[in-house]
Symmetry: C2
Subunit: 545 residues, 2 copies
């Protein structure tokens, strides 16, 4: 199944995907959890029964909002409010599971055009209602839970009605998509023109174009198609003060690149309503395969060679020894693969080493040539070709990891991920520091953890690191994770790395972000915010506090 054939998923308040089709917990995981001491917690609270805060939004504010978008596009229903409560981080899910919907918005608004968003922002400014843009709702950094204090209420702006492909320029290979278009729909709309965006983050099935832009998303095919911020050639931002319409050329020397100021702005300057992106022809051919390296260091060195001297695969990733062994990065895909191969044999083929996945997409002859050249580099770097099986298994299961989190939480596991990036010469040190911080902080709480790591995005000058953490839930799992996360953030900052490579800042990374860029940069961003959003209603508390 190609990406454009996947359905758009609507997020359950605290489950990923369709709760009527739950993913079973693999036996291997069940055994591992028992060893970690995980025991099933109380069953989660039914969303329909969840207590919600009183609606704070005054009647005149609601009237103004209704005037902006039409009364039929303003909801205060229990279901809509619960569905728009926070995002999809593990703490977000844990809190909702426990029945804590304190961050529920007072209203959910569904504007139908850029002009309606402008009018909505003006109305909310006038009535000091906080506004949180809502695309797919897949934030994992607290980006959907704005501050409430000092505001007349919180309004979630659900962009699902902004779901059109506005323009295609096949000669320039650009397409303009409204911000509410979800990943699979974007691919289907573009496929009608023989085009693809090529942006496949793990949140792909749920996340929306505007969210990709607002959070500087990076997809699994970033080596081939680039990060989302690299794809963007134009942006339309609705602010309380009016519209910013940016992007007169692919590149320009006309002042700072203001597109790069809106990318990553996480709703604090306004609401992105449309994005013009570079698109590419749909690939004729796809080829995914696995490689084994004796160690993470050897694999990282091989990936560095590809990133620096080429050729780059479209997808390139490397699991460390622990992740390779556990296969948690892709439990369903990998376990299917194992079943097909007869279990132990396939597992032992990469036991003690590190699995790398390389995928190639494009025109048929180009894929063949690029794959051959990359394979020569990998073999030269002492990689052992495992053939297409691990690659195809990864590809088949690559959007499934978030689904697995639900049965893990059900079983009493605490499972969460975090990520960072640094320059190549700092990568090994960073991995060890973060791993130690996480294992140390969780062991100190009496819940020894398994920490897995992979590289999933490479650049000429460095790479990302993605950590997955599993341990038994403590009695207060939110506080438990907060301590571990704080230790990891500290280690990342101490190592001089970035607090996030592709998850954004939200609320969870605010301190680390301030440390990373320094107080003067935060002041400058706040000055921009005051200019565009004088009342401070746009996603208050996020990014710049």
């Amino acid at each position: 199944m190609t990406e454009s054939e996947l359905p758009v998923i609507e997020m359950h308040p605290y489950r990923w995907g369709d709760p009527d089709r739950p993913m079973p917990l693999p036996e291997l995981a069940r055994a591992a959890l028992a060893q970690l001491g995980a025991t099933p917690p109380a069953a989660p609270v039914d969303p329909a029964e969840m207590p919600l805060p009183e609606i704070a939004l005054p009647a005149d504010a609601r009237a103004a909002i209704e005037a902006a978008v039409g009364a039929e596009h303003v909801s205060t229903s229990h279901e809509d409010r619960v569905r728009h409560t926070r995002g999809c981080s593990t703490p977000d899910l844990l809190r909702l599971r426990a029945g804590d919907a304190a961050d529920a918005p007072d209203a959910v608004v569904f504007p139908g055009s850029h002009d309606e968003v402008l009018a909505l922002l003006a109305a909310c400014s006038a009535h000091r209602a906080a506004v949180v843009p809502h695309g797919g709702g897949t934030s994992v950094v607290g980006g959907l839970a704005p501050a409430r204090e000092g505001f007349a209420g919180v309004v979630a702006v659900d962009l699902r009605r902004l779901d059109q492909l506005v323009a295609v320029d096949p000669e320039s290979r650009t397409a303009t998509l409204q911000a509410g278009v979800r990943g699979p729909r974007a691919e289907r709309l573009l496929a009608d023109h023989g085009l693809t965006l090529g942006h496949f983050p793990q949140s792909y099935e749920g996340a929306a174009i505007g969210g990709y832009a607002a959070t500087r998303s990076s997809g699994q095919s970033s080596a081939g198609y680039g990060r989302f911020d690299e794809m963007v050639v134009g942006l339309t931002l609705a602010t309380p003060r009016g519209t910013l319409d940016l992007g007169s050329a692919p590149k320009s020397a006309a002042g700072p690149d203001l597109r790069q100021l809106v990318l990553g702005s996480e709703g604090v300057f306004g609401v992105i309503t449309a994005v013009t992106v570079r698109v590419r022809p749909r690939p004729e051919k796809r080829l995914f395969e696995g490689w084994r390296f004796a160690s993470f260091e050897a694999g990282a060195a091989a990936l560095r060679r590809l990133a620096q001297d080429g050729p780059l695969p479209t997808v390139v990733r490397l699991s460390d020894e622990a992740e390779t062994a556990v296969n948690l990065a892709d439990p369903s895909g990998e376990s299917e693969s194992r079943d097909r191969e007869g279990g132990e044999d396939d597992g032992s083929a990469i036991a003690g080493g590190c699995l790398a996945i390389c995928g190639y997409e494009g025109a048929a002859t180009e894929v063949t040539a690029r794959r051959a050249a990359a394979a020569a580099v990998l073999a030269g770097a002492r990689g052992e070709l495992l053939g297409p099986e691990p690659g195809e298994a990864w590809r088949a299961g690559r959007f499934r990891a978030p689904y697995l989190r639900d049965p893990l939480l059900d079983a009493g596991a605490l499972v969460e991920a975090l990520e960072t990036a640094t320059f190549w010469s700092n990568l090994g040190r960073l991995r060890h520091a973060v791993t130690e911080a996480l294992t140390g902080a969780l062991a100190a709480q009496g819940t020894p953890a398994v920490v897995l790591c992979h590289i999933s995005h490479v650049y000429e000058t460095g790479a990302s690191l993605y950590f997955t953490v599993v341990c038994a839930q403590a009695p207060d799992p939110v506080a438990q994770w907060r301590a571990a996360k704080a230790a990891a953030n500290q280690a990342i900052g101490d190592a001089g790395a970035t607090i996030t490579h592709h998850h954004a800042v939200g609320i969870d990374h605010r301190e680390g972000y301030a440390r990373e860029v320094g107080p003067l940069a935060i002041e400058a961003l706040r000055a921009v915010k005051r200019t565009l959003d004088p009342e401070g209603i746009c996603n208050p508390g996020v990014l710049v506090g």
Copy 2:
């Protein structure tokens, strides 16, 4: 001669390069100028005799500046003041030739460290002295002539003492260079480590690293090495409020990319003191060759294929019919080539068509393979291979065009260049609109012009256009050009293109820039400026007015 072997040139106040080695005017140009009606104007005023404005800077301000950098690093000499008067646009040269040095700074300061720049900015803030950062002095957009009104004086901050390679990270392939390092020196410093930056704008021999960053420079090898803004992974900016130190990772999702806010800021937020750039191994092999296309449209279509489907040469450019015929883009190189080839023959080989130059640099086998693949694309797009001669001629003469301007001005020609960029589908329209605007505006003044155009930077979604204009000087050539430039700017704005692809905004493009990004964006930038530079002393009047 490779780039690292070229000497750093110090700009004469109104001549490019060493005035003791003037470039003679080619005979062909002399004949063309006669046809355009150019007659030699009065001889330029001797810089040593040029009247300068009284030094406005009060004694206490000078004392504070001397305290910041040392008295021996503050100059008010006639020569230093003239040398730091404006930049290298044709109007800049024309005004100095006519003896107008009204924009001369009151003092030229030579700080020796980042901390000294910080202290200097604090001193200038305290005394309300305007500050203009000065690297190589090669601005062609008025970026070196800040507003004077309301300030106690204007201080040029010459960064030549910040000329060190601070750090090299061969594993990450990054290098940190101080802002005052000039192009050839950067290449020599990196060559000692087997590395190259690969950034070769036409100002290469004079311009400095900080200026590349402040103006979003783009070099002739941008197809292979990227634009300067794409090379930057870290930046240090000294502001009146303190230091911004940016770049914790190659890429990040931690908020807006603030590096991209400093890149292109043209000194209005402060002074860039160091830049960390991506570097590459020095190329083993270089191969340059020429191609002929029947028309500009056919050539542009071929370049678009390379940019969109690859492979990209390291250098790729296409002259239009007029530029190909006149060969003004590279008069010295091309005329040498003609001489070697026997004159008319080589000229007629591309008569009636358009010359493209493709250059390939890198590892030997990679260059061979990439060249073969690109050649197949170009031949498939009905390009006719002209062999290495035109390519090598271009390479030999590529930094010489600015030298030719001096004898042209001496001979009574008005010669100037401007550039823009747009998406592929708009390129033909833009070229015609700008050409008509220029020829129309100059014909209306009784000075019919020759307008030449080339593409020199290509992207997947679009390309740049560079226009060279030659006509006879009118009695007031500055006003004459101003009218032509205004018409071109209007046409660029009307076409929805960017006001500048690689020359920056300065003062000359301020209106076009404001139109391009809109008033709200300008307000946001001014808010950033107020935060970092509360007294507004940093290059006032530039970029955001």
